[in-house]
């Protein structure tokens, strides 16, 4: 069982986070922890604020107050380039539509986050090949546009874990998949995170996926005010 100190240094800890869209919507998180390597599903209906919470954790949106520690570093306190670097180093992100860079090869897509962290060229190439191979991609030099949807998702997962992040945030990665493929995708993402020791916070509005996770977090626990949206 991780201690409180190990959580603050290796996992994710949100404390006293307040965020609002005018008077329509507000999130108030007294405390939310995710231990190192822990995997949780963030549940809630569409538009309930799941993506907003992920954006706050990733430092894409900025909370009005509180602290968001990722691996012991407060992304909310970091500003500008420091926040971008912290996000690149500590967080991997997976999106519903993958958000791959079109016109780039699978290998290049996976190398981009390493390049942005100034990983040496040789190591960058080696790690990207390794990540793709572990996820079952053999056409590393193929343009992502030429890959199947399933392969594109694997490339997106490889890109999220190649930096061995502290935390992987997956925003509705199964939303456009049928239940069978959704289960496969979740297994793939969980396995990849386990392999690199990253904690995983995945959003989904599909109740069926709850059973795959030991822990489920309900976004409604943190919504302080919600007017019909």
């Amino acid at each position: 069982m991780p201690t409180r100190d190990s959580i603050t240094t290796n996992g994710m800890l949100l404390r006293g986070v307040r965020f609002s869209y005018g008077t329509d919507f507000a999130l108030h998180i007294g405390e939310l922890r995710l231990e190192a390597g822990e995997q949780a599903i963030l549940c809630g209906r569409s538009g309930s604020g799941k993506s907003t919470l992920l954006n706050l954790i990733a430092g894409i949106d900025t909370a009005a107050s509180g602290s968001i520690l990722i691996g012991g570093e407060d992304i909310l306190a970091a500003r500008g380039h420091a926040r971008d670097l912290l996000r690149g180093r500590r967080i991997g992100m997976i999106f519903q539509t993958f958000n791959l860079l079109h016109g780039f090869t699978a290998l290049e897509n996976v190398m981009v986050p390493l390049m942005l962290l100034a990983v040496p060229a040789h190591e960058m190439r080696h790690r990207a090949h390794d990540a793709l191979s572990r996820l079952g991609i053999d056409r590393h030099d193929a343009l992502v546009d030429t890959l199947s949807v399933g392969q594109q998702q694997r490339v997106a997962v490889a890109r999220a874990v190649v930096t061995t992040p502290t935390l992987v945030l997956a925003d509705e990665p199964t939303a456009s998949l049928d239940p069978e493929n959704a289960e496969t995708a979740v297994r793939l993402i969980r396995a990849a995170c386990s392999a690199c020791g990253a904690a995983l916070l995945m959003t989904s509005h599909a109740p069926a996926l709850r059973s795959q996770f030991e822990r489920a977090i309900d976004i409604s626990d943190f919504v302080a005010t919600e007017v019909a949206r």
């Binding site: 954006n55 990733a58 894409i60 949106d61 500008g80 380039h81 971008d84 670097l85 996000r87 690149g88 180093r89 992100m93 999106f95 519903q96 539509t97 958000n99 791959l100 860079l101 079109h102 016109g103 780039f104 290049e108 190398m111 981009v112 986050p113 390493l114 390049m115 942005l116 962290l117 060229a121 960058m124 190439r125 890109r159 509705e172 939303a175 456009s176």
Partner: protein, 439 residues
């Protein structure tokens, strides 16, 4: 994988738009460079043509026309100077040399310069660089001709060839008749001088006088009836009046110009007396006196005003190509906000994305400038070859290095500047909005 890879992939993804933008910059750069370089080269070529002549006397309407006709062979001088007047000028001052010339005939469009044989030894087409023979010898007898290098090259003439001259030069040569009764023997070919004189042919004054004296007497003998035709059709059934040097009268001995050079100190091209002699000769209202170097300076000043307009047009084209880079990059930004957002999520700072965009437009400028430079080099070489063969103006065909540096650096700077606006847009891109699933 580097930032440059990202830039190149982005350009490749918009290959058509990128190519068009590069082409626009290239055309603008080439246009500007050709204009600037040809302008410099033309000025230099004109300066070369006047050589070591200090003063030119003719009966043309103005000093500038006198220089253009008498030294650059634009047209045959309209009015002659009598031999007596030419001798009077020659004897009026202790010139270093004074050479009467007669222009008016041509060979397949190239002007024939009739002058004493001393012309080729004393006149320097480029100051400090006298004529040199590439083949054969100088003039020794009448009806011999020495060819400028371009004439020999373009008509494949060698010493020993016999050629007939045509009456008239420049535009007047069209429809002119050949002096077919008197063939000239090519005895020498000059080395290239890089001046307009490379497309001239040189013969003795007496040769020209004899031909024209015979024709004048034939016309006079044929009477008024045939006079109108004889000027343009040399019929074989005309009575033939053979003339030799001893038969020439003052009416036959006409010249169209006198080239004058004042004594100078060794190693100097200037003489303190030029202005004084210029003023003295100008008092004679029957002649026109010109200082060739000064007239060319005036011509360049007139032409300069016009060609600055062309340079301004080139600058406008360059600026418009920069605007097209701006538009191309800005319009693609709508499609690329997602890419920018992805890069930001992966850890790229806003400044890094800004730099990527500016680098992209700068690269378009670099590619356009380099292609434009290559086009300009090819264009200048082609233009100078064309001008050399058509009007004998040797422009060198090179690109002026200073102009090239300014234009290339300017084009790249403008391109970089054109990337700033879309880069600023990218800088302000809201990550959250552009990562949402596409509906």
């Amino acid at each position: 994988m580097t930032d440059m890879t990202i830039v190149l992939r982005s350009l490749r993804a918009r290959a058509l738009a990128s190519s068009i933008t590069v082409a626009m910059v290239a055309v603008a750069v080439a246009l500007l460079l050709v204009l600037l370089s040809m302008r410099e080269a033309a000025a230099a070529a004109f300066r070369r043509g006047t050589g070591n002549v200090h003063l030119l006397v003719s009966a043309d309407a103005s000093p500038l026309v006198a220089v253009l006709n008498g030294m650059f062979y634009a047209n045959a001088p309209a009015n002659p100077i009598s031999w007596a007047k030419a001798q009077e000028i020659q004897g009026s001052f202790p010139w270093q040399w004074a050479i009467p010339t007669q222009l008016g005939d041509s060979y397949r469009g190239s002007p024939v310069v009739a002058a004493p044989a001393a012309l080729l030894r004393t006149f320097e087409p480029v100051a400090g660089q006298p004529f040199a023979l590439a083949a054969g010898r100088h003039l020794e007898h009448d009806f011999e001709v020495v060819l400028g290098s371009e004439v020999a090259r373009s008509h494949s003439l060698l010493p020993g060839a016999k050629i007939a001259m045509t009456h008239g030069a420049g535009a007047a040569a069209q429809g002119g008749h050949e002096h077919a009764d008197h063939l000239y023997e090519v005895v020498g070919i000059l080395s290239p001088t890089g001046s307009v004189h490379d497309r001239a042919l040189f013969t003795t004054l007496e040769s020209s006088w004899i031909i024209h004296a015979e024709e004048r007497r034939e016309r006079e003998g044929a009477g008024e009836e045939s006079h109108t035709e004889a000027g343009h059709h040399h019929e074989s059934d005309h009575d033939h009046h053979h003339v030799d040097a001893a038969d020439l009268t003052d009416a036959d001995r006409l010249v169209t110009g006198v080239l004058l050079r004042l004594p100078t100190r060794t190693g100097s091209d200037a003489s303190a007396s030029i202005a004084a002699q210029f003023d003295r000769l100008r008092r004679d209202t029957s002649i026109t006196v010109a200082q060739p170097a000064q007239q060319i300076g005036r011509l360049m000043a007139i032409v300069g005003d016009i060609d600055w307009l062309f340079v301004a047009m080139g600058v406008v084209v360059l600026v418009s190509s920069a605007i097209s880079i701006l538009l191309a990059t800005a319009s693609s930004m709508e499609l690329r906000r997602r890419q920018v957002a992805i890069l930001r999520v992966l850890g790229a700072s806003a400044w890094r994305v800004f730099a990527l965009l500016v680098t992209e437009s700068t690269l378009l400028g670099v590619a356009g400038a380099l292609v434009g430079l290559a086009l300009a080099i090819a264009g200048c070489a082609a233009a100078s070859a064309l001008l050399a063969s058509k009007i004998g103006l040797a422009l060198g065909g090179g690109i002026d290095a200073r102009s090239a540096s300014i234009v290339v650096v300017g084009a790249i700077a403008l391109s970089a500047l054109a990337g700033v606006v879309p880069a600023a847009k990218a800088y302000r891109t809201t990550i959250r909005e552009h990562l949402r699933p596409i509906a």
